[in-house]
Each structure stands twice: as C-alpha cells, then as structure tokens.
Symmetry: C2
Subunit: 161 residues, 2 copies
Amino acid sequence: MHHFDYIDQQILLQIREDARKPFSQIAEDLKISNSLVHQRIRKLKEQGVIAKAEFVVDEKKIGFRTKSYVGIRLREARYAEQVVAGLKKIPEILECNFVSGNYAIFILIFAYDNHHLRKILYEQVHHIDGVAGTDSFICFDTNFKRPVSLEALTKKDVYDQ
Amino acid sequence: MHHFDYIDQQILLQIREDARKPFSQIAEDLKISNSLVHQRIRKLKEQGVIAKAEFVVDEKKIGFRTKSYVGIRLREARYAEQVVAGLKKIPEILECNFVSGNYAIFILIFAYDNHHLRKILYEQVHHIDGVAGTDSFICFDTNFKRPVSLEALTKKDVYDQ
DNA sequence: GCTGAAACAAGTAGTGT
DNA sequence: ACACTACTTGTTTCAGC
C-alpha cells in the first residue's frame, strides 16, 4: 500500500501533460530541489504507477479516419483464447478486452475508411475460427478523451495490484 | 498532403516507445545528426502528427480496478449534446463518443470497483436529462492494447485532416 | 535538406544535514 | 527525506556545405 502526497500528485499532473518537461522546471514550479523531483519520479516508476513516457501519434493525421468499437460473439466460450490470438495478428485492432454482457470480446479498430473497416471485419475477423458474429459501433465523433483523475490520490491510500 | 520517409517513421517508432529518449541517442541509432532529429520532430509537431508527450499513469495502480465500456440510449436524439455536457462533469468517464448502432453514445469508465461503477451509473448517469438507459460491458481483462501501426507510413502519402 | 561545432541547459550522482 | 555541489550529458541554434 503506497501513500501519495501533494508533491507526487503535482509531479504526476505535470509530466502527464508534458513528458519532456524539464525536471528542473518542475522543481522550480513546486519550489523543491530538482533532485527531489528525480527521486519521486524514480519511486513512481518503481511502484509501476508510471510505466513509460510516450509521444502520442494522431491516428487521423496518418490516415486512419474510421474509429470503431466492435463487439464479438463467440460460437462457444472455449474459443476465447484462440480468437484473441487471431485478433492480435490484425494490426488495425488496437485494443482487445474480455467483457461481460452480450459480447465475449470487445475490440477497438482504426481503419482508413468505412470500406477498409468492412474488409477487416468480413475478410479477417469473421474468418477466425470461433467467431459467431460482430456488431460495430462506429465513432462519428469523440466528444472528449482524458486521463484518469488524480484528485483522489492524496485523499486515500492506494492499494497494491 | 504530407510525405513521410524512413527517417520520420523510425523517429516516430522510437519516441512513441520512449518520449524521453535523448534525441542524440536516436541520432546515433539512425546514424544521422542530432540536429536532423530535432528538425524532423519539430515538423511532425507542426503537422500535428504528434501533439504531445505524456507519461502514462497506470489506472489500476492508483486504485481504479473496474474498467467498463457503457452504451447509452437516449430518449430522443436531440438530447445528445446536453447529455455529453452532463457526462463530462463525471471525472470517472474518460472517453465519450457518438456512435452508430444501438446506442447513441458510447463511454469508457474507470471506477474503483463494481459497486462504485454501479453508483456512478445509477446516481449520476441515469439522472442526466435525456438518458433513457445504459448497457455496461465490464472489462474482465485487457488482452492487448497497442498504438496504431506505422507500417503504412512510408508506403503511401497521408492526407490532411 | 543536412551537418557540425559551440553555447547553453538539464540530468545525474555523491555528500552532507 | 531532502538539498547542495560538481560533473556529465543532452538540447538548441546557426553558419556553412
């Protein structure tokens, strides 16, 4: 069980927004030494709270204009693992989850356009052994997308996982 | 319409994986000058291909153990905008999309546990004027999650958007 | 469009309180 | 747990090819 204080929270808020922000500048903002910033970030990494820093590539800008969530139904539950293995081979599928409800598997796809999406589903996904059918939820617009709130961080201890 | 070459692709692959990787080291790897790395990254930013570098915070490590996609049905289509405004006020909702299919709106929620998720839906989402009902797809497991493929980058020109 | 050198800024590690 | 110092390394700009 870890404990996070105000400094951890503020550091996270800043580096989450800009991973290349100089530690020295963060230190200045928070009025602490830059070795402390360094130390805290090292600890957050050790704890696994932050795993890596990544530059975010805009999918639309490189041609992937159709974003869609797709629910997958299986012929039988036992096919789950092998279907996941099949889905992983399709590079346009960026996320894959086991879910509760009407579908066994829920995926996120980025395709060039609707036609490309249809091709991926009909020529690849539907041919994976165990897949009974799919329902697509094509995203017309993403209204907002944001990272998890850090508000609760200093108010409670956080459990290991 | 932009054109991307091998150098752009390689730089993107590297900084996407580690946003704090020194440009000088990228230059060494690719056997180019570090001012060129600098130059290319500046251009990729100007074009909007990369917007920002972010440290990724592990939601599970800070206590958000229940991830769920939720489909929202509306009483009437005209409520869409005001429902989005209501959803935006709930910090546990990290993503919100207009979609095709059975639901008008599709959201992503991170909650502490199933009970917390239920509270968010029943005490907040269902009280937003215009919401007719919701269906939850709770993620038992995320099998994989990865960024968009850059394979196609050098093979075709990429359209503006 | 690309390189290389020089000025500047930041990251790192060790020491002390 | 934190700050200070000295040292190493990376970033950025600009003249020149």
